[in-house]
């Protein structure tokens, strides 16, 4: 029984159909990577899971989201609020602005555990200090009393992770948690986060556009393209044997050591705009192997030799 089960959800904002039948499961303690280019619907999927869609005027038109055996769609805001932070925590993209500038770091972490676990002020502080230390930030006491502007970006992102962990959630949704940081810090923070998540047996939905991060951290991968799932598989299988041409292109785009200068190429073309998605397979305009079938018929997400992929021509 999966902890979170997203079943064929479609999302519209106004007249735009932004997600079309997105489906995946996350088991307890599993780390799932959600990859795709900008505009493929990664963050939108995260917002669906957090029940935050109404805030941006979006609507789930089809499908269901089952969290821990309960349907989340249609749940009143009050109940969603109890889930948020306590059962499902979100780590957002931008650590620089995710902390209140005039409240001390410590108080911001403390308030999560006082709110959700009902801890006393002292217990909450002890817990926060412990979390800060676990995120390998030196001098937890000093950091606890510091203001956000006194910390570096990497430290702030760790604090944001500490806040997400503070109420012992079952699932953490991390929406590109390291994009705002420089590359040297990125790997380090991902590594610390993954360690803490594994130690506690939490499930993690890691949204990224970086296949390197996926290889480093995840158990399973869902590849999104233009609002649809292109492929889903275990990390080992997806790198060994990608079924969807888009996945192949993504993997080809990972820079490698010793690669000839100038030989790193992007995927030709651009993600089609949501206002005129092509008929059939949405990747057909950029796919080298596209045929008439791809331009007319939407490929179903089918079981391949391993995993699922939505392509007419990948070998079955």
């Amino acid at each position: 029984m999966a902890l979170l089960s997203v079943k064929d959800i479609s999302v519209t904002i106004g007249k735009l159909n932004l997600l079309d039948g997105v489906a995946f499961d996350i088991g307890a303690g599993e780390i799932l990577g959600l990859v795709g280019e900008s505009g493929s619907g990664k963050s939108l999927t995260a917002m669906c899971v957090m029940g935050l869609l109404p805030r941006i005027g979006g609507r789930i038109t089809e499908g269901s989201i089952i969290f821990d055996g309960r349907e989340m769609i249609g749940l009143p805001e009050v109940e969603l609020r109890h889930l948020r932070g306590k059962r499902i925590a979100l780590i957002s993209q931008n650590p620089m602005t995710s902390l209140d500038p005039i409240i001390r770091i410590g108080a911001q972490i403390d308030q999560v555990s006082t709110l959700h676990l009902g801890l006393s002020a002292e217990a909450a502080k002890a817990r926060s200090l412990d979390l800060i230390a676990q995120l390998r930030i030196p001098e937890p006491e000093a950091i606890h009393g510091a203001y956000p502007h006194q910390l570096s970006g990497g430290m702030k992102q760790r604090i944001v992770i500490a806040m997400a962990l503070a109420a012992d959630p079952d699932l953490i949704v991390a929406d590109e948690p390291t994009t705002a940081l420089d590359v040297t810090i990125q790997a380090q923070i991902i590594q610390i986060m993954v360690e803490l998540v594994r130690d506690r047996g939490l499930a993690l939905m890691l949204i990224t556009h970086d296949m390197g991060v996926v290889a480093q951290a995840c158990d399973r991968v869902v590849v999104l393209y233009a609002g649809r799932v292109a492929e889903t598989n275990t990390v080992e299988a997806i790198f060994a044997e990608p079924h969807h041409p888009y996945t192949r292109e993504l993997i080809r785009c990972i820079p490698r050591l010793g690669q000839a200068p100038g030989s790193l190429k992007g995927i030709p073309g651009a993600v089609p705009s949501v206002v005129d998605y092509p008929a059939g397979c949405r990747f057909n305009s950029r796919c080298g192997a596209a045929e008439d079938l791809c331009r007319n018929t939407v490929p179903a997400l089918e079981r391949k030799t391993s995993g699922l992929a939505a392509c007419h021509f990948s070998e079955v």
Partner: protein
């Protein structure tokens, strides 16, 4: 304490230091009036009416022979009490209304904005006069009238701040961790919106002192024998050619206090570097 830093910084400028000294003096007069005043403020001495300023009466006496200096010292108490409590009520109500309107939006926001814009279009004195005409003259009604007259200003300012702040990522992040509306408004939004509102409140206190004096001048504020600077000036108008000090000294007290408040407010704005924020709202 970090919150006092801007005040320390403001006092360091000559303008800030001078105005702060005057304000301390005025506040001291208000607080220690019974100790500082050489006479009781309501003891009449008709034979000694309209005495010129001299050793016995530093600022002379009024038309009933009351010591003007003592009355001005007690008058500081009236002015400051009315102005500060009226503005405090106004700021508190404005913060609450503005925060709710800015945060929740929708019909409530439209209703609040409509009423606020309507009152904003009248001068404060007119609103205060209308209100006193309804609830009757007196010290308490002056207080109520002044606080309502300034409510629009603080509501607008707070609302504008909150509307900008509620889209900040940290507010969203807090909501994403399960915080409720109450927590978000009072722990995150209001503390961040507070500074410009407090400075605006400080400056409005100066205006409120003038408004209180004006209402007192018309006999709508403090009732005799309670000393009020405005009422004292009003009674001085009849004596202006015989005993000009009766109108001059209360007038000076009002002018000095208000100038000091405005200069200190300016110094504070500079220290806090929020002139731009105030202007944009």
């Amino acid at each position: 304490m970090a919150a006092l830093d801007p005040i320390r910084k403001a006092i360091r400028s000559p303008r800030g230091a001078g105005s702060a000294a005057v304000l301390v003096l005025v506040v001291a007069c208000a607080v220690f009036a019974p100790l500082l005043a050489p006479y009781a403020y309501d003891i009449q001495n008709l034979p000694g009416a309209n005495t010129e300023p001299g050793w016995a009466h530093w600022m002379g006496t009024d038309e009933f022979g009351r010591d003007l200096f003592s009355r001005i010292v007690y008058g500081a108490r009236t002015s400051l009490t009315v102005a500060i409590s009226a503005i405090s009520i106004s700021v508190a109500a404005g913060l609450t209304l503005g925060a709710m309107a800015g945060y929740f939006g929708g019909p409530f926001d439209r209703a609040v904005t409509a009423v606020v814009d309507l009152t904003w279009s009248f001068p404060e004195i007119l609103i205060a006069l209308i209100l006193i005409a309804i609830i009757g003259p007196g010290l308490e009604s002056t207080m109520v009238a002044i606080s309502i007259a300034y409510l629009a200003q603080f509501t607008r300012l707070t609302r504008a701040q909150i509307m900008a702040l509620k889209n900040e990522t940290y507010v969203e992040a807090t909501a994403n961790l399960g915080a409720g509306h109450f927590h978000i408004i009072f722990r995150h939004l209001l503390p961040n919106a507070l500074t410009p509102v407090i400075v605006a409140g400080m400056l409005a206190t100066g205006d409120a002192i003038i408004l209180e004096a004006t209402l007192g001048f018309f006999g709508l504020g403090a009732q005799p024998p309670t000393p009020s600077w405005g009422a004292m000036m009003s009674s001085g108008t009849a004596q202006i050619f015989i005993a000009p000090w009766i109108i001059i000294f209360p007038g000076l007290a009002i002018a000095l206090t208000v100038i000091a408040i405005n200069l200190f407010g300016d110094a504070l704005i500079e220290a806090l570097d929020i002139r731009n924020r105030l202007r944009s709202s």
